[in-house]
């Protein structure tokens, strides 16, 4: 990030003093001190390399602990314990053995070692190059999206004017790798699954984008940092002006959640690699660390989409109350991100997998029309921004009605003849 952009940005920050706190600036200070040791011509390169290394390290670890958190949480949601065995290995050079199991928190490292030491099988008929490239590219593309997420007040790896556009462009590239994996495996089941996965991901790209456009419409910018700044106000210093606390924002957030779940192949939309029904979908011919890379990319994609949801609807790095601004902004972002991930895990532990026809029906007959209506709703909201006094109540009521009425009516038409379900054999 260049300093002129930063100063411009902080000019219209609500509380400029918070931006200069010691903790708030700590990551930047650390980076700048480190960069200063090196000759001036290489500094810009190091500057960006540190951002890259930081993202890789933080979100690599975040991925590792998300997997263990997911397994432990799913366990608790189903009245099980989850993994709690993996502790510290016995190091022979140490005179003692730390026997504490550490609540199973070292499980991801054991999993990583397992994945690395597994045999990597490439089918004889496979396209060797594409088969190798698919897992590499899927991780690369899913990591690219992190570049435009504002992790903190001053923490954004690349500040683009069209950050949202870039985010979706980079995110959509992972769809290519799905088909690459299916095609390169030279396995008809892999290919069919890849096409199914592609159909799903493309179907849900539309509601995902349509749920994001209202934010762009109201905030009037594609820059993620400016969208966050647009949400940085409080009524009485207590009620944050996050977009989720507006009728169109709440609807947009819910639509975004559903579309993000489908986009990142999470339950209940995990048809592409439905573990209990298919072998592994387009990943059938992948084993060992290549499989782990796909797994990793899936979590990176989920994290990036959650981060985008936080940025667009949950106020990004903004504190929920004005007096809580002493806590560094990046901690707020990470807290909200963890909240989103936990919610996704909760949904995974609760809902059943959809059928492919239900999946596409939900997208085209429900989410897309609703997202279009919500776009109109946001336009109404943007046009009535000048209304005040009792007209504010009218504005809120109209906006809420504009989303609730279509939701109820379309929900009825969607579920007509479907519910309540009668069971012939079960009681």
């Amino acid at each position: 990030m260049n300093s002129s952009g930063l100063s411009l940005l902080s000019a219209h920050l609500p509380v400029a003093a918070a931006a200069d706190g010691l903790l708030e600036r700590l990551p930047l200070t650390l980076r700048d001190t480190f960069v200063q040791w090196f000759p001036a011509p290489t500094q810009w390169l190091l500057h960006h390399l540190i951002s890259i290394v930081g993202i890789l390290a933080i979100f690599g670890l975040f991925f590792a602990f998300t997997t263990v958190a997911e397994r432990k949480l799913l366990g608790r949601l189903q009245n099980r314990l989850g993994p709690n065995r993996a502790g510290v290995p016995k190091f022979s050079f140490l005179p003692f053995h730390l026997k504490h199991k550490l609540f199973g928190l070292t499980q991801p490292f054991a999993d990583a070692v397992k994945a690395l030491t597994k045999e990597d099988i490439v089918p004889a008929a496979a396209d060797k190059l594409l088969h190798f490239l698919a897992p590499v590219l899927v991780v690369a593309f899913s990591l690219l999206t992190f570049a435009v997420l504002p992790f903190g007040r001053n923490l954004i790896p690349v500040e683009l004017d069209a950050a949202l556009l870039y985010f979706f462009a980079a995110g959509s590239a992972t769809e290519l790798t799905i088909f690459m994996a299916g095609w390169a495996s030279r396995n008809k089941y892999s290919l069919l699954s890849a096409m199914r996965a592609l159909a799903q991901v493309i179907s849900y790209e539309l509601p995902l984008l349509l749920s994001v456009i209202p934010v762009v419409l109201v905030a009037g910018t594609l820059s993620t940092q400016e969208i966050v700044v647009a949400q940085g106000f409080w009524t009485f210093g207590l009620l944050p002006h996050w977009f989720i606390f507006t009728p169109w924002g709440a609807a947009g957030f819910l639509l975004f959640l559903v579309a993000a779940l489908a986009e990142s192949n999470r339950s209940p939309f995990d048809l592409p690699e439905a573990e209990s029904e298919l072998i592994a979908g387009h990943l059938t011919e992948y084993s060992g660390f290549k499989y782990a890379l796909f797994f990793m990319a899936e979590y990176f994609g989920l994290t990036a989409l959650s981060g985008l949801g936080v940025t667009l609807f949950l106020g990004g790095w903004q504190a929920p109350c004005a007096f809580l601004q002493f806590i560094p902004s990046y901690l707020w972002f990470m807290g909200k991100l963890v909240g989103m991930i936990v919610f996704f895990i909760w949904v995974r532990g609760t809902l059943l997998r959809l059928r492919i026809d239900q999946l596409t029906r939900l997208s085209w007959q429900f989410l897309v029309p609703l997202a279009l209506i919500n776009l109109g709703n946001a336009a109404f909201w943007a046009l009535t921004g000048a209304w005040s006094g009792p007209l504010q109540i009218v504005r809120w009521a109209v906006s809420a009605a504009l989303i609730v009425v279509p939701f109820v009516l379309m929900g009825r038409s969607l579920t007509r003849g479907q519910a309540p379900r009668t069971y012939r054999y079960a009681t």
């Binding site: 949480l73 949601l77 189903q78 009245n79 099980r80 314990l81 909760w346 609760t350 379309m410 929900g411």
Partner: protein, 220 residues
């Protein structure tokens, strides 16, 4: 309304999540090596031999090597060799004992028929389930030293059964003692009556010999 089912479902799993931390009825997982499973009393797997005295297991085996269990065992996993001599059992009565008593637990099918046919309550079902061995021939073939376990252990694993067996055995022993006492008393009485009875019964003049012998007091 659409979505109400999803909210209900989320509430159910949220209840599970919270309940799993404080409600033991929800969390049924036993963390096995640390937490020992609580086996039901009727649980059984392989037979063991009951001994009366834990300090001298081989001397106080209830088994008298009658070989009924060996003959009844459907998969024929029991092998018994009778002793040549006799040892006194718990009641002091001289009995045969098994010189060799082996059960192949790899063959045993835990049917409990040996237990049901044993007239001496000498073989009972055990509850040890950690029977893994590194050698399937010697590791799973248990000899009588490995099979012998004291009666107190039987009480521990099958309290109801053991109590019933003990009261029955005690009653039997008491009955046997009383019978022996009665028999001894009858014998004594017979011995006491002997000098008197033969005289009128025989009533022969040529019988001075038994009468001349003095009546001996019963020694038992």
């Amino acid at each position: 309304m659409l979505g109400s089912g999803i909210i209900k479902g989320l509430a159910v799993t949220a209840k599970n999540f919270v309940g799993s931390y404080h409600d033991p009825a929800r969390m049924v997982t036993e963390q096995y090596p640390e937490e020992r499973p609580k086996l039901p009393e009727a649980y059984r797997n392989f037979p063991f031999l009951v001994t009366e005295n834990a300090t001298d297991p081989m001397g106080t085996l209830r088994c008298v090597a009658c070989q009924i269990c060996e003959k009844e065992c459907p998969p024929q996993c029991i092998y018994i060799e009778k002793s040549k001599d006799k040892k006194p059992d718990a009641t002091g009565k001289p009995q045969l004992y098994p010189a060799v008593f082996a059960i192949d637990t790899s063959v045993c099918m835990s049917c409990q028929i040996c237990v049901e046919v044993c007239p001496f309550d000498a073989i009972k079902m055990d509850q040890v389930f950690e029977v893994a061995a590194t050698n399937r021939f010697t590791g799973l073939l248990l000899n009588r030293e490995q099979l012998a376990k004291p009666n107190s252990y039987f009480h521990q694993i099958h309290p109801t059964d053991a109590h019933e067996v003990d009261t029955r055995l005690a009653a039997e022993r008491k009955a046997a003692e009383e019978k022996a006492k009665a028999a001894a008393a009858a014998k004594a009485a017979a011995a006491a009556a002997k000098p008197a009875t033969p005289a009128p019964a025989t009533a022969t003049p040529a019988a001075p010999k038994p009468a001349a012998q003095p009546p001996t007091p019963p020694t038992a």
